[in-house]
């Protein structure tokens, strides 16, 4: 009997969690127009989640590009097609690694700080104080951060891919000595602007929505204690990363299964 009760409790909790998340999402969406009117708030948050993430995204992109150049060359030269190195580096970055790795880093770099900030605001009863003053905390605190995350993520992902391709160029052409013309020509021949670059941008926007939303909601729902905030921060990284990977699989299956 206990087992059945446990299943029942688990089901109710799951359905309730999904419903809660949806209502929270709709509440955030409803507050977006008002948050956009006070654009100063959004700008401050773009500065916070975007500019401060540039260094880690840029350095990671460069090194991912280096490694792709080295490993790709090692595999391709076995088949005598090291000319295709540029295509390999560009396609893997633009289609998959750019959006996904950026989203994972973004969850670690920006998501955690969003969760901790909002969790602490809640612990310090700042959110309740806002409500007392008839200020909607979702409109004042959550929505600007959400917009900022959705703006910053595609920019960071594009930066990651671009820097990664330059990294692949440095290793492939400058160090190993792949022909420069073939490197760029193969890349331009194989990378389609809409179906590859465009879909990569769509992916990064979706990941931006997912990561920022998970981070904000986890912070908003955190129990208002030091322990609760620390748990919420951990949960942000785990949930956001798993969400990104699952979404990536679905999006890849939808976008690229035809070709």
């Amino acid at each position: 009997m206990n087992a059945i009760a446990a299943i029942g409790a688990w089901s109710i909790a799951t359905v309730r969690g999904v419903g809660d998340a949806t209502r929270f999402f709709l509440a955030v969406l409803g507050q977006i127009p008002r948050a956009l009117l006070r654009f100063g708030l959004v700008r401050d948050q773009v500065h916070f989640v975007g500019n401060y993430s540039v260094v880690i995204i840029g350095v990671s992109g460069l090194f991912v590009g280096f490694v792709l150049g080295l490993q790709g060359y090692y595999t391709l030269q076995r088949y005598g097609s090291e000319q295709a190195l540029g295509l390999l580096v560009a396609l893997s970055l633009v289609r998959e690694l750019g959006p996904v790795v950026t989203a994972l880093l973004f969850a670690g770099r920006a998501g955690t700080s969003l969760t901790a900030e909002i969790g602490l605001m809640k612990a310090g009863e700042q959110l309740s104080a806002m409500e007392m003053m008839a200020v909607n905390p979702i409109g004042r605190v959550i929505a600007p951060r959400f917009i900022a995350g959705v703006i910053a993520m595609p920019i960071l992902a594009a930066l990651f891919s671009a820097v990664g391709i330059i990294g692949g160029y440095i290793v492939g052409v400058q160090l190993i000595g792949v022909d420069e013309g073939a490197f760029w020509a193969q890349m331009q021949g194989g990378v389609d602007v809409w179906s590859d670059v465009g879909n990569g941008v769509i992916k990064s926007i979706v990941f931006g929505i997912a990561v920022t939303f998970v981070a904000l909601r986890t912070g908003f729902e955190a129990s208002p204690t030091p322990e609760g905030v620390s748990r919420a921060t951990t949960r942000t990284v785990v949930t956001a990363s798993l969400t990104v990977l699952a979404l990536d699989f679905i999006l890849t299956a939808l976008m690229f299964s035809g070709s």
């Binding site: 700008r43 401050d44 594009a158 391709i165 890349m187 389609d192």
Partner: protein, 158 residues
């Protein structure tokens, strides 16, 4: 003054992002090869188009002069019909011939256009009649084997 500084930093961030996207589109992608030139449409029938795909380049003497826009199957003649957009600045004689070629050993397939000697030029909705199908490796191998077998027979019975 501080909010001015943040404005500048956020502005820089957005500009860097736009530059990265532009780099991906122009340097890594094929946006630069999208021609905004006016084009005219011709079509060509092939017995077998092999691995030719829509958006494959059409080259003459190695220079891209147009693109394949669509490929469909004609169930009256059982041929494949490729629709081709050629740039208006390039005129080709009516008896030009189209071949399906492969760039390199393992490269992508493209359409090669060879100019003929006719006085009248191809116009919109004309058909290139002189075509050569893609080389299918299996056919080549079976041809080779048949020839070998024929050689062997002729050697046995002189």
């Amino acid at each position: 003054m501080k909010s001015k500084a943040i404005d500048i930093w956020v502005g820089l961030f957005v500009v860097v992002g736009a530059a990265a996207l532009l780099f991906l589109a122009l340097k890594a992608g094929n946006l630069a090869s999208f021609s905004t030139q006016a084009t005219y449409r011709v079509n060509a029938r092939f017995d077998n188009i092999g691995g030719l795909k829509p958006r494959a380049p059409v080259k003459s003497a190695g220079v891209v002069v147009g693109r394949v826009v669509g490929i469909h199957f004609d169930d009256k003649t059982y041929n494949a019909v490729a629709d081709i957009d050629l740039e208006t600045q390039y005129k080709f004689p009516k008896d030009s011939s189209a071949k399906i070629l492969t760039s390199g050993l393992l490269g992508e397939q493209y359409l090669g256009l060879e100019a003929g000697g006719d006085q009248t030029m191809l116009a919109n909705n004309d058909r290139i009649t002189n075509t050569q199908s893609a080389v299918v490796l299996e056919n080549l191998i079976s041809q080779f084997l048949f020839n070998k077998a024929a050689d062997g027979n002729s050697k046995d019975k002189p």
